[in-house]
């Protein structure tokens, strides 16, 4: 699948811009803070309904504008051409349309366009807090399973209600509070979330291990393991998970009331990455951690290819400067001629010349996007370099 046309209005630093990206590699080149990543974010928004950055959706509206619009024509093998747009209005409201018809729920957008984002934030998946790993799981699984997205949404809602109740019980105990009902609901929506994450990890692990083996030249072995907070046997079904969930809730009930929070469940899950037996998060070198991230992202790409039946759009946000020559080559060769890629960078010189010659190059300057030939791009860079050396 690919983005055939992208139009922005009052999105981040863009007033009105339109581009028709090429089918293969699209290089977005420009100085920092010109809006390169914002373009990736626009595509990411269409794929996931989410912003790339933490914070409120309203922040994606250009300052001074009333609302933002992201519009795209997507070409897919399954469904042909699909037109989609998302309008962001203050108060974090999103309105979306697919082929001109208005959709009520945001999750209906999921699965129309699939995208894999790879940027600085992803290093956090390996060496950051567990919440970043849960976010990684949620985003990938949501693209493959709307049901997961639905269950997760309901689960979070139950968590909030249950927190309200636990706090109430802490402050003034009531005999008949209905806590059991919320326990039931927690297990009911939590069990399929756990089951799906386990399935996801089981499928991701061998893919990531294989890719990692190739990049490291077979010297290291990567192991990806799902660490569910609810301890269950590997072959336990949804009912089994729900039962285990219930049992564990009961065990911590007193502590939960004392602390006013739900203490067990998938909101405390984690993923563990081990390189040749030792935890990549604590013991890995920076180089090793980057190789793990790269392997995970390429495995995510392969997984989406497999589930969706066609290649997702790849969004590479300034990753070239973080990767060494070998890893850069692995990444670009793995994607070459397989998918549409958007790659941001401050200069094209680091990119392999043979790939550059086939690529579409776009110069991004203060909220404008202009196509550029390779020669122009190289000349531009030479000028920049000269200016920089002039005292």
């Amino acid at each position: 699948m690919r983005v055939a046309r992208l139009a922005l209005r009052d999105f981040r630093n863009y007033q009105t811009q339109e581009m028709r990206p090429g089918p293969g590699l699209n290089v977005l080149v420009g100085l920092n803070a010109q809006g390169k990543s914002n373009l990736l974010e626009a595509i990411y928004l269409l794929a996931t309904t989410k912003s790339l950055r933490a914070g409120r959706d309203t922040e994606m509206i250009r300052s001074g504008a009333g609302q933002a619009l992201v519009e795209a024509e997507i070409e897919t093998e399954r469904e042909g051409e699909v037109a989609m747009d998302v309008t962001l209005t203050p108060g974090d409201r999103k309105a979306l349309r697919i082929n001109g018809s208005r959709r009520q729920r945001v999750i209906e957008l999921l699965g129309v366009l699939n995208a894999v984002f790879f940027g600085a934030i992803d290093l956090g998946v390996v060496c950051g807090e567990p919440t970043l790993r849960r976010r990684f799981m949620n985003l990938v699984i949501s693209q493959m399973s709307p049901k997961y997205c639905f269950d997760l949404g309901a689960y979070k809602r139950v968590l909030e209600q249950r927190r309200g109740l636990l706090k109430e019980l802490r402050d003034r105990p009531v005999a008949d509070s209905g806590l059991e009902v919320w326990n039931d609901q927690l297990a009911h929506y939590g069990a399929p979330v756990v089951a799906k994450r386990r399935e996801f990890a089981q499928e991701l692990a061998p893919l990531a291990a294989e890719i990692h083996g190739r990049i490291s030249g077979g010297r290291e072995a990567l192991e990806v393991r799902y660490m569910p907070n609810i301890r269950v046997a590997d072959d336990a079904g949804r009912d089994g998970i729900a039962e285990a969930f219930q049992a564990q809730i009961e065990r911590v009930q007193h502590e939960e009331i004392r602390r006013g929070a739900t203490l067990v469940g998938p909101q405390r899950d984690d993923l563990r990455f081990a390189v040749s037996g030792s935890d990549a998060r604590t013991y890995g070198s920076q180089g090793q951690q980057r190789t793990v991230v790269l392997s995970l992202k390429l495995a995510e790409f392969e997984l989406l290819c497999r589930h969706v039946g066609e290649a997702p759009v790849m969004l590479l946000d300034d990753v070239m400067s973080d990767l060494d020559e070998t890893r850069r080559r692995h990444l670009l060769e793995a994607l070459h001629q397989r998918c549409q890629t958007f790659l941001t960078c401050t200069g094209v010189r680091r990119l392999p010349p043979d790939l550059l010659r086939e690529a579409h190059i776009w110069r991004v300057t203060a909220g404008t996007i202009e196509p550029q030939s390779l020669d122009e791009a190289l000349r531009h860079e030479a000028d920049d370099a000269e200016e920089a050396t002039v005292p």
């Binding site: 109740l165 109430e168 609901q185």
Partner: protein, 199 residues
């Protein structure tokens, strides 16, 4: 800056407090009343006052009523062995419009929502028990919304009533009748698949 004459400003301010009414709509409505015949305005004012003075909660089912007991509860044609539990009077109205349900209703006046401080004891739940006894009720249909809160309220009723040997059923959720599968949103389809029935 120009201001409305004081009585007009007061009307606009009052109308703006209504649910779903913004400043623009409030202004339009106020101008409408200015132009409308005197009798129209009086009828509206009276209707509002009458609602305030005459509408009470039915002491049986807690629906709105203009007498101590509402029309449904007073009707000899209604069958008390089946009671349909709803969250709000407007849900009762919705089911009543189908003209299919011949049992009685029970309005909880809300759903359980600890986040907003709404606990089971704040709803009209305990009031349901004597009614079940009095009418020899055998089935309770729970018709709360298919939201997390509506579902929690339904589960609470199940836990309360099942031990008493009363059949508790839940209204189905899934596709709208006469609807197009193609047009259904994913959440609805997921639930329709989950609650499929054998044929």
């Amino acid at each position: 800056m120009l201001h409305y004459a004081r009585p007009l400003a007061r009307l606009v301010a009052e109308l703006e407090k209504l649910p779903g009414i913004g400043p623009k709509s409030a202004q339009r409505m106020a101008f409408h009343f200015l132009r409308a015949p005197h009798a129209d305005a009086e009828r509206l004012a009276q209707a509002i006052m009458e609602v305030k003075e005459k509408i009470v909660f039915c002491r049986e089912c807690f629906n709105f009523a203009d007498q101590e007991v509402c029309d449904v509860c007073r009707s000899p044609k209604r069958d008390g062995t089946v009671i349909c539990v709803v969250a709000e009077p407007r849900d009762l109205m919705a089911i009543e419009r189908t003209a299919e349900f011949q049992g009685l209703y029970h309005v909880l006046q809300g759903v359980i929502s600890p986040q907003e401080g709404i606990m089971p004891d704040m709803l009209k739940i305990k009031e349901l028990l004597p009614r079940i006894q009095r009418h020899n009720t055998t089935e309770i249909i729970v018709a709360t919304n298919p939201t997390v809160e509506g579902e929690a309220t339904a589960l609470y009723l199940v836990r309360l009533l099942k031990p008493l040997g009363i059949k508790v059923t839940r209204i189905a959720h899934g596709l709208p009748a006469g609807g197009d599968l193609d047009y259904a949103d994913q959440a609805t389809l997921i639930s329709a698949l989950q609650w499929r029935r054998e044929m």
